[in-house]
């Protein structure tokens, strides 16, 4: 028990949680935007793979780090455009399109990797983002190390969450996007372009997912491996529901989930680790997420028009 408190009170533990949470924050914000506009984006896992590859490849071929992030963003937006075109104006099944895009994005990335780097070796490394201690803030006890000695991309994740919250809840554009997810007919009746808004949300959201992927190759690590996204996209889908489609709560969910993850890594080395199989630790964050959902369950928050296609003038 005291071991648990020691872990929970250490700055390095929370620093790890924030690091682990960062890619989830980007991608979950992306998913949140899509779902707020009424589109479930199951392409998230594949789009993260694309972003991880594109950002890393861009830097490897000579671009700067931030331009690399931009390339990742653009690659995600390209797949977002495909997703949006199929699901919004054509109103096709969001399940098939999403899973299909995950398959397409993943395999296309691997194919591109093979063609770009046919010689088999350890994948090359890039000069990834280094941690940057924010002067002043990083000297604060506990939070200084946990929050303010991260890489710039982690700071960007938090800024993104704040920006998403601001745009969604404080601007006319955000209102229109949210209304698209609640009742697209109401949006159309105000003369606003539902199709354009939904497509835009999916494209931008997909771009953020790709940046989440790029975090893995440009900040958490410094090269690209197949399958390294490893289910993080699916977690983000859960995080959005956990966060009741609100950016703040979703961010909190991401940090909590990451904290569970960081905790299970550490608990494996305690006495518990000798008693429980390692799978129990790996499963803990998922089981705790489900339990958290049961405690929090508030179904009313689901965007009413989520997964409901809209065509103007249809009965």
């Amino acid at each position: 028990m005291s071991e648990l408190f020691d872990i929970l009170l250490s700055a390095s533990f929370w620093a790890a949680a924030i690091r682990i949470a960062s890619p989830l924050i980007f991608a979950a914000m992306g998913e949140l935007i899509c779902e707020r506009a009424g589109v479930l984006n199951l392409g998230i896992e594949g789009i993260m793979v694309v972003g991880a590859f594109a950002g890393w490849m861009a830097v490897y071929s000579g671009m700067g780090l931030w331009p690399g992030v931009a390339v990742a963003l653009a690659s995600g937006m390209a797949f977002g455009l495909l997703h949006a075109t199929l699901t919004v104006p054509f109103g096709l099944s969001q399940h098939v399109v999403g899973l299909g895009i995950t398959l397409l994005a993943t395999s296309a990335t691997y194919y591109a990797y093979r063609i770009a780097l046919p010689q088999v070796n350890t994948p090359p490394k890039i000069d990834a983002f280094d941690p940057y201690a924010i002067p002043g803030l990083s000297d604060l006890p506990l939070v200084g190390e946990a929050l303010f000695t991260q890489t710039p991309l982690t700071y960007a994740a938090f800024v993104t969450a704040a920006l998403v919250a601001f745009v969604l809840f404080r601007t006319p554009l955000g209102l229109a996007i949210r209304a698209c997810g609640e009742n697209p007919a109401a949006v159309a009746a105000q003369g606003l372009p539902v199709t354009g808004l939904r497509m835009g949300a999916v494209i931008v959201g997909s771009g953020l997912m790709a940046v989440g992927g790029a975090f893995l190759t440009m900040s958490a690590f410094d090269s690209f491996f197949f399958e390294m996204v490893n289910g993080r996209g699916w977690i983000c889908i859960a995080l959005v529901v956990f966060g009741a489609w609100r950016p703040g709560k979703t961010l909190l969910g991401a940090v909590l989930f990451a904290a569970f993850d960081a905790l299970q890594i550490r608990l494996q080395q305690t006495e518990l680790g000798a008693v429980l199989p390692y799978q129990a630790f790996l499963a803990a964050p998922y089981i705790l997420s489900i339990l958290a959902l049961v405690v929090m369950s508030r179904r009313a928050q689901v965007p009413a028009a989520l997964m409901v296609p809209f065509r103007k003038g249809e009965r």
């Binding site: 250490s10 390095s12 790890a16 690091r19 682990i20 890619p23 691997y110 088999v120 070796n121 350890t122 994948p123 490394k125 893995l216 958490a220 690590f221 410094d222 090269s223 491996f225 197949f226 399958e227 390294m228 490893n230 993850d261 960081a262 890594i265 550490r266 494996q268 080395q269 680790g273 000798a274 390692y278 799978q279 790996l282």
Partner: protein, 308 residues
Amino acid sequence: DGHGPIKVAGIYTVPVEQQWVSRIHIAAEAAAARGDIEYEFTENVANTDYPRVMREYAESGVDMIVGEIFGVEREAREVAGEYPDTAFLMGSSFKEDMGPANLAVFDNYIQDAAYLSGIIAGSMTETGNIGMVGGFPIPEVNRLMHAFMAGVREMREDATFQVSFIGSWFDPPKAKETAFAMIENGADIMYAERFGVSDAAQERGVLAIGNVIDTQADYPETVVASAIWHFEPTMDAAIAAVKAGEFTAADYGRYSFMDRGGSSLAPLGTFEGKVPQEALDLVAEREAAIKAGEFSVEINDSEPTSGS
């Protein structure tokens, strides 16, 4: 020997960057470059599809198929039985006598080198606390961890080990986080079974021991020693057997042993002169004994756990 190149096909369940598979793939490419074989391969094959791919290659007339059948032992033997003219050289948990006459088995028996790398680690650790991050606790991983731990104990009887499995072959960020946690928990040498572990060691200024492949070039200040698997002896022996028409069920695992050149300790490189002489002496002594067949490292395939 008057023979033209034979046709060899590789079938792998993971992409060829994966450490274990990369050793086979590189050996095959080397043989192809020498002109001994014509080589093609299929990667990332799900075990569900594995027998089909085996059969497709066999039907297409390749002389030898190399790959890994840990997850499809039974079905793979069925297919091999149907193509008696094709040689199957397969990574497998079983022994040769369990299958058809044209299926030989191998595995990465590089415990000798892992043991020697452990001796070096034992001499370099100050805290006596060593972190080990693995993908899954399978025999190919476990036996090397055990051998490494045995090596460490030669120098530090009091050493303690932190062992974790991340449940994935490819998740360097996760492996890195796990390593960070171990370093925070006192480890000053990391056993890098997965990508990502050496990175954590490098960032935190502790040391790492490599495994299967040599990554010192990427981490010159960090990776002290590595136990390397050389698949070439296995591959070359199998090619020769096929060319001679003598390929039969056999355990090629022996070719991975140190005395056959199947494994080695990577050169100290950047750590030349930084490892205590006492350890180097023991390494030299044991290496000679191993090669002379006077010393053998225990092969222990059970899951290692944290502790001393």
